[in-house]
Symmetry: C2
Subunit: 170 residues, 2 copies
């Protein structure tokens, strides 16, 4: 049920169309909660149906700009304060580690080297992103920055772990 809340969250900053939201997902939210075009449009229709958002303006090419309603803001706050996030995250990457024993040691090391590289790349990409953003805005800047810092620390940790792990394989 989180796509719904991601949309409510983005709309809490400012009104936006499905197309705008798609772009926002591709840029800011892509790393924590990817969503496809079809998913976004379908969910927006449902949210409007249940009164959590409403069409605030219409533009050219059938553009519909949605805005958060009072009910929508209440639901967003409820989600943030009254519900606990899921502790378990599925990780394709970690799952493979369990089964590296069916490969030759050099193949297993190659996999871990790939992870090292992937973590480095992600780290650098986030660094560049961090440099390109102007951190003058209000709330979204404070919390966006905190999320970005998480990404940096996460990738640094993963890189070090993958290097350590490769050394464990004899």
């Amino acid at each position: 049920m989180s796509l719904r809340h991601a949309l409510l969250g983005l709309l809490s900053e400012r009104p936006a169309s499905g197309y705008d939201l798609l772009k926002l997902f591709e840029t800011s939210l892509a790393n924590v909660w990817p969503a496809t075009q079809s998913q976004i449009y379908t969910e927006l229709t449902k949210l409007a149906g249940s009164g959590l958002i409403a069409v605030a303006a219409e533009g050219p090419r059938g553009r519909k700009e949605y805005a958060l309603t009072d009910d929508g803001l209440a639901e967003l706050r409820h989600w943030l304060t009254e519900t606990t996030p899921q502790r378990t995250t599925r990780s394709d990457i970690l799952l493979r580690v369990f089964f590296l024993g069916v490969l030759r040691p050099d193949q297993a090391r190659a996999y871990l080297a790939e992870l090292t590289e992937m973590s480095e790349e992600s780290y650098e990409q986030l660094r560049r992103l961090s440099d390109s953003i102007d951190w003058d805005d209000g709330n979204l800047s404070v919390y966006g920055r905190i999320a970005l810092e998480y990404g940096l620390r996460f990738n640094a940790m993963r890189r070090e772990w993958a290097e350590w792990a490769a050394q464990q394989i004899t």
Copy 2:
């Protein structure tokens, strides 16, 4: 398509029934790839249908013990060496961080404090698990240990990050 490979991976160690596999998921794989009973039984039927596993023995109470076939092992190796894992992981926990601006600062700090606590608990739980396992086995022990070390480092990182983040909120 990873549940399929998780099952093939577990069966590469030794033959097992659906019930055995369910228990293995609950203990060893729960942290990286949770799966439900219904999902496991359905997938086993499909895997047997496509010849990647086969019923090797039948026991009391309709117990069916599955074993990996040659095709199944080939598929497992193919997955490990020829396919790249998904870089994007959905994180409920991080998603919320983006929207903490709609809450009061004390509520936002409370959320981050919750994350600190959650990370500590997970860390301790993994520590205990690490102490309780005898690390004498072969492959599964080497790679199981590497995965566990990841969990420890991850939770330590997240804890420090959450503490840092709480201080950023004025």
